[in-house]
């Protein structure tokens, strides 16, 4: 397991056991009549990671969430903390991802100290496996294009042949012609992360309001008013972390967040003894022993439905990759709607017309959780995004592209 650099550890400070709040100067000064310093819209991984980070900065935070049957990407995600492939088309995304990957170990450690819950972060290096020469060639080409981009951080992704892969993943099938390996790739128990963050925000005094779907946001008298079916919530700032719903919410505060949701399906097996040391982008063994198989993409947005043929394809490829899995029982399948921005890259923005309104939106809510908690949240607490870090992720990029 790769250790995160010590400098990042120090940025955490000591976790304060039992502290309801960690007051810091800045938000205190600006504390107005509003009940809350920040209203975070969205109780998924992005929302609760941001809320936790804000609470650590001493903010009075409310998280507004939907109910049990909400379309939740956080319940359907694949739990990778993943680096390889990230950044093709937007070079700074690679550096942003690596920053989070490096911060993850300290992030997990702090959460454990605060909640006693272990999210089982591991960074053993991960694979992308190919089942034909054509697939492997396409893989190599895409990595080449990625690394030829100007300004890219060079993260070591290595193309391996069957024998090289087999040395690290002894159970691969004969049909695996090779793959790519990146030592920075890892994974986590994402459902436990979801629970841990909820436990942590509760311990830090964050107000969590389920079944408070936000219908409208206005800014009046220097504060934001968020309309829900239950009551109006007032806050000095608002952070939109509502996934695909950001598309409708962002324009209410002078922001934009173009999305194109898609559906992904996951197949889950019964618990097995450990057999897979490294996560594969389409297949991983959880710390509990179940094997998750996934990574389908469909242009559908019905979260309740399931395309059985897609599950079958995932299963067929999984058995070709790891024949030993053929006799494993499938105990669950999932379909969930991916949070996906128009170009697939994160959107972090602050509103010019509605000062104090921010967007925190991305597909990789697990990988980037450390950044959202430790980097984005402090920026929102300070009241301004640090352009040197997140300027490339403004939604303004969509207009630049259109103009070009």
């Amino acid at each position: 397991m790769a250790a995160s650099p010590p400098t990042l550890q120090s940025s955490f400070g000591g976790p304060v056991q039992g502290a309801r709040r960690m007051p810091s100067e800045a938000p205190q000064e600006r504390r107005g009549a509003s009940e809350f310093d920040v209203a975070v819209v969205g109780g998924g991984l992005v929302g609760v990671a941001t809320a936790w980070g804000l609470a650590r900065e001493g903010c009075r935070v409310v998280v507004l969430d939907e109910g049990d049957r909400a379309v939740r990407a956080s319940r359907g995600n694949f739990a990778l903390v993943w680096v390889q492939s990230k950044g093709l088309g937007l070079a700074p995304y690679a550096g942003w991802t690596i920053r989070s990957s490096n911060a993850w170990e300290g992030f997990a450690q702090t959460l454990k100290e605060e909640t006693g819950l272990d999210v089982c972060f591991q960074r053993p290096g991960g694979f992308h496996l190919s089942l034909s020469e054509r697939e492997l060639e396409a893989r190599a080409n895409s990595l080449k294009r990625l690394h030829n981009q100007p300004g890219i951080v060079d993260y070591k992704t290595e193309i391996m042949d069957h024998a090289q892969v087999a040395r690290m993943l002894p159970d691969i099938g004969l049909e695996v012609v090779g793959g790519s390996y990146c030592p920075l790739d890892g994974h986590v128990n994402s459902l436990r992360l979801f629970r841990t963050l909820h436990t942590a925000i509760k311990a830090r005094g964050v107000t969590y309001l389920p079944s408070h779907r936000v219908e409208n946001i206005t800014r009046e008298g220097g504060e934001f008013r968020l309309t829900t079916a239950h009551r109006e919530i007032r806050a000095n700032r608002v952070a939109l972390a509502a996934g695909n719903a950001n598309m409708h919410l962002a324009p209410m505060v002078g922001l934009e967040c173009p999305m194109r949701p898609e559906r992904g399906q996951i197949v889950v097996t019964e618990r097995l003894r450990p057999f897979l040391r490294h996560p594969v982008v389409t297949l991983r063994q959880t710390d509990e022993g179940t094997v998750m198989i996934g990574d389908s993409k469909e242009e559908r947005t019905d979260p309740a439905g399931l395309t059985l043929g897609v599950s079958a394809t995932e299963a067929e490829r999984a058995v070709r990759m790891f024949p030993v899995l053929g006799s494993a029982n499938v105990v669950r399948t999932w379909s969930a709607i991916r949070v996906m921005t128009q170009d697939g890259f994160p959107i972090y923005d602050e509103s010019e017309s509605h000062p104090g309104a921010f967007t925190v939106c991305c597909h990789s809510g697990v990988t980037l959780a450390a950044n959202h908690a430790l980097t984005i949240a402090p920026m929102i607490a300070r009241g301004a995004l640090d352009k040197s870090l997140v300027a490339p992720f403004s939604a303004r990029r969509f207009h630049v592209q259109e103009a070009g």
């Binding site: 019964e270 003894r273 030993v324 006799s327």
Partner: protein, 97 residues
């Protein structure tokens, strides 16, 4: 825990964890295990707690055993056959069996 009411049905020979067990032709694997007086058919993959069948109607999955080399089969749904090998299951199943 259970005894046979009537000695009806032909005797079917199984092995359970390598030991011979006499079942009857009308038995499911779960019934044969209960009649043989075994004290567990699996231990759980979570805490290793011992379990015996709870519902015997395909609902509870506590009767999961390895039958003829295939793991995690519901013993209450599978009829016995001559020469069947049954193994109790310890914790998580091993991939490939």
């Amino acid at each position: 825990m259970f005894k046979r009411l009537a000695d009806a049905g032909a005797v079917v020979a199984l092995t359970v964890d390598g030991k011979p067990v006499q079942a009857r032709s009308c038995d499911t694997v779960a019934a044969a295990l209960l009649a043989a007086g075994i004290d567990r058919c699996r231990t759980t993959p979570v805490t290793g707690a011992p379990r015996l069948p709870y519902c015997l109607m395909g609902v509870c999955f506590d009767c999961l055993v390895t039958i003829d080399g295939v793991g995690s089969r519901q013993a209450c749904l599978v009829p016995v056959h001559e020469g069947m090998t049954v193994e109790t299951q310890q914790g998580r199943r091993e991939a490939g069996r």
